[in-house]
């Protein structure tokens, strides 16, 4: 789906062309290029291109928007400009909304974003198992409750929230700092593919653009503005996640934070957010209460309706969610190790359980 005007496309390609220049322009401490991205074209050229302005002008002259449009269509890239109907309305509240939103995946997701309350989950790349567990549970709970989950495809909390949302059967939205088709970090190749399948990967940069340091904070403003609420799961100080929270605050959106251990460095950011008045989040229910009002919409309770018929399986399923080891499950259900193993294998095969690395199994939101 391509619904973008020539001027907006031209601007996007210009920014992609100037991207390396912008990287050099920003000082070491300065990480936000947002003021720059809001400038009109002439000022942008003057500010970013500097002495290379001729080169940039030559690039603009050579640029054929029609040809680029053809290329985008051939690659099945979604492109929506800020004048288009499908452009997410919440993004327009930004002072410097991206001229064009490029995406790969399901185009219908744009309509979902315009219609449904949406939540952004961000956090550190160096997540602790606690952070990973919470991010996964929130992603899965919100996904299962039909709330689209926006995150940044980064390692740690971001990726885990995406996975949770996918496993919960929800609509994942990844906002990336590169072009929508560039997978960064490379380790998330398969996750990128799964998100394209079930949701949408969007970016401010046209396809094939590599990410720059400055484009991550720039991407954070999109994440903050796409959602009604921004959740920070674990964040060090200072960090990109806190930048996202700042953007959300500036836009007057709700910010939630997951309380962490006071001794943990990755909990400092979130605990300070809580001190500053962020909503404390201890589970999916807290988020749904913030979004829809207290008690209006609870987390979907499909687990009960989807009990396996076999009583042994049902007992093992209950025990598996609570126990860490096969041994403990066998003790709790009074079955032999072999029977317990067989039941666990069956439950996994039928999709009731999924592996949590080697520690045990957990229930899916089937």
């Amino acid at each position: 789906m391509i619904d973008a005007c020539d001027a907006c496309l031209r601007r996007s390609f210009l920014i992609a062309h100037l991207a390396p220049r912008i990287a050099g322009l920003l000082g070491r401490g300065e990480r936000r290029a947002t003021g720059l991205l809001g400038l009109p074209e002439s000022d942008l050229l003057a500010a970013a291109a500097g002495r290379r302005v001729e080169q940039a002008l030559a690039f603009l002259d050579a640029l054929s928007v029609g040809r680029e449009r053809g290329r985008l269509a051939a690659a099945h890239v979604i492109a929506v400009c800020r004048h288009a109907e499908a452009y997410p309305p919440l993004l327009r509240e930004l002072g410097d909304p991206p001229a064009v939103l490029f995406g790969t995946g399901r185009a219908e997701v744009l309509a979902v974003l315009a219609r449904d309350p949406t939540v952004t989950i961000v956090g550190t790349r160096r997540a602790s198992p606690y952070g990973t567990e919470v991010a996964y549970a929130l992603g899965r709970g919100l996904g299962a409750a039909g709330v689209p989950v926006v995150s940044g495809l980064a390692l740690g909390v971001d990726g885990t929230a995406h996975r949770g949302c996918l496993d919960g059967g929800g609509v994942p939205v990844a906002v990336v700092a590169s072009g929508p088709d560039v997978v960064y970090p490379r380790r998330h190749r398969s996750l990128h593919a799964r998100i394209r399948e079930a949701g949408l990967v969007i970016a401010e940069m046209p396809p094939a653009t590599e990410p720059y340091r400055w484009s991550f904070p720039a991407r954070n403003r999109i994440m903050a503005s796409l959602a009604h609420m921004t959740l920070v799961v674990e964040a060090a100080e200072p960090s990109g996640s806190l930048i996202t929270a700042d953007f959300a605050k500036d836009l007057g959106r709700c910010v939630g934070a997951v309380p962490g251990r006071v001794t943990s460095s990755v909990a400092r950011g979130t605990n300070n957010l809580l001190k500053d008045g962020a909503a404390p989040i201890s589970g999916t229910e807290d988020v749904l209460d913030e979004l829809f009002g207290v008690g209006v919409r609870g987390p979907r309770d499909d687990d009960r309706t989807n009990e396996p018929a076999d009583p042994v399986l049902a007992r093992v399923l209950d025990a598996a969610a609570a126990c860490d080891s096969v041994e403990a499950v066998a003790r709790a259900t009074g079955q032999t190790a072999a029977t317990t193993r067989a039941a666990l294998g069956r439950l996994e095969a039928e999709g009731y359980l999924t592996r949590r690395d080697l520690e045990g199994w957990e229930r899916t939101a089937r």
């Binding site: 790349r125 160096r126 997540a127 602790s128 198992p129 990973t132 390692l155 740690g156 885990t160 380790r187 398969s190 996750l191 860490d324 080891s325 096969v326 041994e327 403990a328 066998a330 032999t336 190790a337 072999a338 317990t340 193993r341 067989a342 039941a343 666990l344 294998g345 069956r346 996994e348 095969a349 999709g351 999924t354 592996r355 690395d357 080697l358 520690e359």
Partner: protein, 507 residues
């Protein structure tokens, strides 16, 4: 005068026939040793001279030339002493050389003329039988071991003087008794599975591993009992058959760690994680068997698997795939047998604390678990958890009957028997050794089960290799239950032991 005497050298663990030719002729007294001897052999001149003189025999003051044929193979070790001494005696006419062609001999000499034991006497006897010798002469200490070989006469020789008597026909030694231990000889010290409290899951996994010869990974915190469990695996494996016991004894004899008797239990080797690749699979300028070879027909236990050097673990690729190790040195290639069940153990995470007190980041976790990838983990069929048993359960007088090793072993033996029958003619002895193609041919699935497994490959991202592993393990579970056809529950149980789940965390 010329004389030739047959002896056997070790090539890895295989016997290699060496003919010691001795030429004695008039000339300036000299002793020349050719045929690529090492230092120990070159020094044998001094031992042989002293031993002969101290045995009241004559060391000829002539021009002596000793050749070790084939001349292009490097030879090592003191086991040539005896052959050189006997060659000298024969060539100088001190003993009749007529019957020497029927004898093979091996032994180290002491200066007094007594014979000292050598490594690989069993291997030498096996080689001598294959080469068609009628009798093999070995030091007394090696005789019980060598006598394990049937179809060849083994004589225990105490000293060089006695040997001379024997060659003259003045002394006839008693045939040596083979060192087959009495059935109950070594049982008391073997650790029994009944010593382990709790750990039902790990015990079940051990039983399956033993029944199918599957490699096993145990995951759990330090002190939970992983080593204790692994040590009990040899006790539930079927007792080695005579041929297997001979193989085990041969390896241990070649490595010099045997007790001179036939092995009744399968070996258990647990090298430390600082071991080098060479130590693990064998090597060195004079190639020595590595730990995997010493564990041949038994169990190789790798505790703290992620701490092993990458190169060492990768070197296990060939032994795991082919059941043997090939080591090439210069122009020759040595072959070591190396068919062992590998039991590996690791912690859940690098800090090894309980899940609720763990301080590892997911990055560290991923790094730790990625160290487990590679050829070894590709060959691991079973993963089980070993949790610390609560103290209450340790002291509680156990109500349910403990799992006794003899009962488990009986089930394992039955399961192995079924596999032997089914796999006859494929060159494979147990389910764990089947490769992918053989697995798919040997483990037919009913249509409904095959369909289910296929659907699963999509849902839980079961790889092709993972699919074969599940089939192999399911086949063993069915063998333990004495079923010819797989049932759904066999497949389900096998599915829960698979290792694929690592990939998600490491990704």
């Amino acid at each position: 005068m010329l004389a030739a005497v047959a002896t056997f050298a070790l090539e890895g663990v295989r016997p290699q026939e060496v003919t010691v030719e001795v030429d004695v002729r008039r000339g300036l007294p000299a002793f020349t040793l050719v045929g690529l001897p090492d230092r120990a052999i070159r020094e044998s001149r001094e031992r042989v001279r002293a031993a002969l003189l101290n045995s009241e025999l004559d060391f000829p003051q002539k021009r002596l030339t000793v050749n070790l044929a084939p001349a292009h193979v490097r030879k090592a070790g003191p086991s040539f002493d005896l052959a050189i001494a006997v060659g000298l005696l024969a060539a100088s006419g001190q003993v009749p050389s007529g019957r020497l062609t029927e004898y093979a001999l091996a032994g180290e000499l002491s200066l007094s003329g007594e014979l000292r034991p050598v490594r690989g006497a069993l291997n030498a006897a096996l080689g001598a039988r294959r080469a068609g010798y009628r009798r093999v002469l070995v030091p007394e200490a090696n005789a019980p071991e060598a006598a394990l070989v049937e179809g060849i006469e083994v004589s225990a020789i105490p000293s060089l003087a006695r040997l001379a008597d024997l060659l003259h026909g003045r002394w006839t030694p008693e045939p040596a008794e083979p060192a087959v231990p009495a059935p109950h000889d070594s049982l008391p010290e073997a650790p029994d599975l009944a010593d382990v409290r709790g750990q039902a899951d790990a015990k079940r996994a051990l039983e399956i591993a033993a029944a199918g010869g599957h490699n096993l990974l145990m995951v759990g915190p330090p002190g939970a009992g992983k080593t204790m469990l692994a040590r009990r695996l040899p006790g539930i494996l079927p007792p080695p058959s005579f041929e297997e016991a001979l193989e085990i004894t041969q390896v241990h004899s070649a490595a010099g760690i045997g007790n001179g008797r036939l092995a009744t239990e399968r070996p258990f080797r647990a090298p430390h994680h600082t071991i080098s690749a060479q130590g693990l699979v064998g090597g060195g300028t004079r190639p020595m068997p590595g730990e995997i070879t010493l564990a041949h027909r038994g169990v190789l236990f790798l505790d703290e698997l992620p701490e092993f050097a990458r190169s060492a673990v990768d070197a296990l690729r060939q032994p795991l795939e082919e059941g043997r190790v090939e080591i090439t040195r210069g122009q020759r290639t040595l072959d070591f047998p190396a068919n062992a069940i590998v039991v590996a153990a690791c912690n859940r995470c690098p800090c090894a604390r309980a899940p609720d007190r763990c301080s590892c980041t997911t990055l560290e976790l991923g790094r730790y678990q990625r160290r487990l990838s590679g050829p070894l983990v590709d060959r691991i069929d079973l993963v089980c958890q070993v949790e610390a048993v609560p103290a209450v359960e340790l002291v509680r007088a156990s109500g349910d009957a403990p799992t006794r090793a003899v009962d488990v072993r009986a089930r394992v033996v039955t399961a192995r028997q079924r596999q032997l029958v089914r796999l006859a003619g494929t060159g494979v002895l147990c389910n764990g050794d089947m490769d992918g193609r053989l697995t798919r041919r040997q483990v037919p699935l009913q249509a409904n089960l095959a369909g289910r497994l296929l659907a699963l490959r999509d849902r839980i991202a079961l790889s092709g290799r993972g699919h074969d592993r599940v089939l192999r393990v399911a086949r063993t579970i069915a063998d333990l239950e004495r079923r010819d056809l797989l049932t759904a529950s066999d497949l389900d149980e096998a599915l829960s032991y698979r290792l694929d789940a690592w990939q998600r965390v490491a990704a």
